[in-house]
């Protein structure tokens, strides 16, 4: 073991590989500690988590000066006014928008409303930098069902979310706003897809526009106000959240479901390392023990193992891999890893067998045997330590191909869908045509990470070449 480490450290390639490997391990440990283990099913594949995120947006660093993605959360009202029957609570969101373009989207989410008599009434309006105010949206949580007892709880598990840039109610309100304020007559239908442009802008003068109505951006501070009218003092609102959708998102951008790619990519680190290490350990163990058995026991066992190895060695891997994973399902630990192991051991078993055959005739083993040591004892006490360093080199050699095999299966849509992996992120990208639309942040990083992880193992394996060389001297 020590000598192997010394060999790795003695070459620049080995040191680079080891450093890279340490970095990957560090990130993996961080992820394992800070992410829930059921992250895949609970977060990554849960669309509700990502509802507020803009879809397919590049990372923030890629587009300096772009409208950022901002989330405003308020759990307590800014202002409370008594009314004859209950209270008016005002939630005010200050949205600084010094940009010469409208935001991508604007949404409001209500989480948990508890009331005792009548449902509260929410009135949403937007006050613009030019002092004009637009009434946008009104909403009341569903009324009590027959037989239901107070307090009535609404939207605790499924928050109410409204996309202020697309809601028909908002369209109607904006249409009225344009007519009243600017004398512009645009039907609700004509406003489809233009709400953000209108709300965050002002119409150009008739001589400027010449043709149909156009709007110029109106930078400044906007205020989104939500007035909640409650009819019982005990009524409660959990939280209100306003989200201004940005042109960019997070460190790694988002995919078509608005998922934060940075999270998916981070979660891929431990998954990919575990696949690489577990598969190669299993394949090496299997290959080595079968090789030692084959070489040492000889006879029918030898024949059987070598024939099987020969058959598996002559099978074109991927078509069969696809077939088996397709049939047995894509559970990572129960199917994918065992199947990759099944196709990986033969080469090693054949080489270890020939090494054992040489060692078996060696003097040390002969002396042991004459002293009455059992076959198993000789095998594990004397032969295993001698082929050990070579096995370690092989172990590292297996890892990149295991990682690549899993990634390929994932890319073909046969990945384990309980865990996000780099291969699956790429599969999603390819399936939805991200490549042809140039969504580089969705396509390049996951592949790059696969390559970097595989390269880390490759570099270490390269530095172990002096140990692993018998493989190359086949003739």
């Amino acid at each position: 073991m020590e000598s192997v480490l010394k060999v790795i450290l003695s070459s620049g390639v080995g040191r680079a590989g080891l450093a890279l490997f340490a970095l990957l391990t560090g990130i993996s440990v961080y992820v394992l500690v800070s992410y829930p283990l059921d992250y895949g099913s609970r977060v990554w594949y849960n669309p509700a988590v990502w509802a507020d995120n803009p879809a397919v947006k590049p990372p923030i660093w890629a587009k300096p000066g772009a409208v950022p993605h901002s989330v405003f959360l308020q759990e307590e009202p800014t202002e409370v006014r008594k009314a004859s029957t209950g209270e008016r609570r005002l939630y005010r969101f200050e949205i600084p928008h010094p940009y010469e373009k409208p935001p991508d989207s604007l949404s409001l989410t209500l989480t948990e409303a508890v009331y005792y008599s009548r449902p509260p009434l929410l009135t949403v309006s937007l006050t613009r930098p030019d002092g004009r105010s637009v009434r946008l949206y009104r909403y009341s949580p569903p009324a009590p069902r027959p037989g239901e007892e107070a307090p009535y709880v609404r939207h605790r598990d499924s928050p109410h979310r409204v996309d202020l840039g697309a809601d028909p109610q908002v369209r109607a309100q904006v249409s009225a706003f344009l007519r009243d304020e600017y004398g512009l007559r645009l039907s609700a239908n004509e406003l489809r897809g233009r709400l953000m442009e209108i709300l965050f802008g002002e119409p150009t003068s008739p001589e400027e526009r010449g043709g149909p109505a156009a709007f110029r951006p109106l930078p400044g501070t906007y205020a989104l106000e939500v007035e909640v009218t409650v009819f019982d003092r005990r009524d409660r609102i959990g939280a209100l959240q306003a989200v201004r959708g940005g042109e960019t998102f997070g460190w790694m951008g988002t995919d078509s479901l608005g998922r934060d790619l940075a999270q998916g990519l981070l979660f891929g680190f431990p998954v990919s390392l575990i696949i690489g290490i577990l598969t190669s350990v299993l394949a090496t163990l299997l290959g080595a023990s079968l090789g030692i058995m084959s070489g040492y026991l000889g006879g029918r066992v030898d024949l059987l193992i070598q024939r099987s190895a020969d058959v598996i060695n002559n099978i074109p891997g991927l078509p069969l891999l696809i077939f088996l994973v397709f049939i047995f399902g894509s559970n990572l630990f129960l199917v994918i890893i065992p199947v990759i192991v099944f196709f990986s051991w033969p080469g090693l078993a054949i080489i270890v067998r020939s090494m054992v055959l040489q060692l078996r005739e060696g003097q040390l083993v002969e002396a042991e045997r004459s002293l009455g040591a059992t076959r198993w004892r000789i095998m594990f006490r004397h032969i295993l330590p001698q082929v050990g360093p070579y096995l370690l080199a092989q172990l590292i050699f297996f890892a990149p191909s295991a990682i690549l095999s899993e990634a390929t299966l994932s890319f073909l849509g046969l990945g384990d869908t309980s865990l996000p992996t780099w291969g699956q992120i790429l599969e999603g990208a390819f399936r939805t045509g991200a490549v042809y639309r140039g969504y580089w942040w969705w396509v390049v990083p996951p592949g790059l990470l696969i390559v970097i992880t595989a390269v880390a193992f490759m570099l270490i394996a390269l530095s172990l070449e002096p140990i692993a060389n018998p493989r190359l001297r086949r003739s």
Partner: protein, 350 residues
């Protein structure tokens, strides 16, 4: 004669491998109940059509049900679902072995034939075109570069290309393909097509069609070459370097043989058999690469067909047939390379 015996043995063992794989595929399909499920879904679908037909002629509901049951039994007998899988599947194996590959469910040839034989006959040449061209190119480049590097180990070029080899071993061909599409299709404004085999509509005339095909083949072939060259180059370099240090090379130099001839006859010629071995070992990867590359570039070959057969609505006959054909192709390619090895290395001829 010894050489013939050896070849015969190799051929037999490769045929055995093909047989074993076929049996394995069929047993897995049968034992997991997959085959039954697929067949009954096929029958249910056909029954829907039958029900509509019969409903027009038979008015009495009871009679209709009876007729339908009768029909279903007939269909089950036709598909062999009335027998357990271990009775049904040996026939499938024999059928596949006699190259009677059955019918595909949805895929068809350009002429509309659903016979898998016809489908494969249409697709195989396309795969072969991609695969063989790439193989020849990366073999030439890989061996040339590898042996070139072996003459100057430790040089800057050598170090750079060694890193390239490590990286190219770690490059999944499908991701490489995606990157190339991103660059050559998206960023360079459609300089090269993103996929397919011909433009739509395909140009008229033999030469124009051929050029269009070549134009579409550039990126997939480039992908395969890029991914496979590095490892082969590295193997070629290491082997050549090892051979160059052997005593017989010094002996040849001592004989006053000019350096060029020493290189060709006493280094490269001796390194050739193990390099072929390296090529054989790389073959599995190349086949895998050709499957994913076809998928990425929507190249309508066997790999894409296999992907279609597995994804969406699975097609059992197609899966069995393609696994069989792929195993056979691999065995064949291996056999050809092994003959090459036998020709190159007199030591294994006896």
């Amino acid at each position: 004669m010894a050489i013939l015996r050896k070849l015969l043995l190799r051929a037999l063992s490769l045929i055995a491998v093909v047989l074993i794989v076929l049996v394995l595929v069929v047993v897995v399909l049968g034992a997991t109940g997959f085959s039954d499920r697929i067949l009954s879904s096929v029958i249910s679908e056909e029954m829907r059509a039958v029900r509509q037909q019969l409903a027009e002629t038979i008015r009495d509901p009871q009679e209709l049900e009876r007729a339908l049951r009768e029909q279903r039994r007939e269909l089950e007998a036709f598909y062999g679902l009335d027998k357990p899988w271990y009775v049904r599947l040996p026939q499938d194996v024999l059928r596949v072995l006699t190259l009677d590959l059955g019918e595909a469910r949805t895929v068809a040839t350009a002429q509309g034939s659903k016979r898998i034989q016809d489908i494969i006959a249409e697709r195989l040449p396309r795969t072969a075109l991609l695969f063989t061209t790439a193989l020849v190119i990366y073999f030439l480049i890989g061996v040339w570069l590898g042996t070139l590097l072996a003459t100057r180990p430790g040089s800057k070029l050598d170090r750079v290309l060694s890193y390239f080899a490590a990286v190219s071993f770690a490059l999944p061909s499908w991701w490489t393909g995606i990157l190339l599409i991103l660059i050559f299709y998206f960023y360079l404004g459609g300089l090269l097509p993103a996929g397919g085999m011909y433009s739509t509509p395909p140009p008229e005339g033999g030469l124009a069609r051929f050029l269009d095909l070549a134009y579409h083949a550039i990126l997939p072939i480039f992908t395969l070459v890029l991914v496979a060259t590095g490892p082969l180059m590295y193997v070629a370099r290491t082997i050549t370097l090892n051979v160059a240090q052997e005593d017989h090379v010094t002996f040849a130099r001592a004989k006053g043989i000019p350096e060029g001839l020493v290189r060709r006859r006493h280094i490269l010629r001796v390194a050739a058999p193990p390099i072929v071995t390296g090529l054989i070992l790389g073959l599995v990867g190349s086949i895998a690469g050709s499957i994913t590359t076809e998928i990425v570039f929507r190249w309508p070959g066997m790999g894409q067909l296999y992907f279609q057969a597995v994804s969406g609505q699975p097609d059992e006959s197609l899966i069995v047939a393609l696994t069989f054909v792929y195993t056979m192709l691999y065995a064949l390619a291996r056999f050809i390379l092994e003959i090459l090895y036998l020709i190159l290395d007199p030591r294994v001829r006896y």
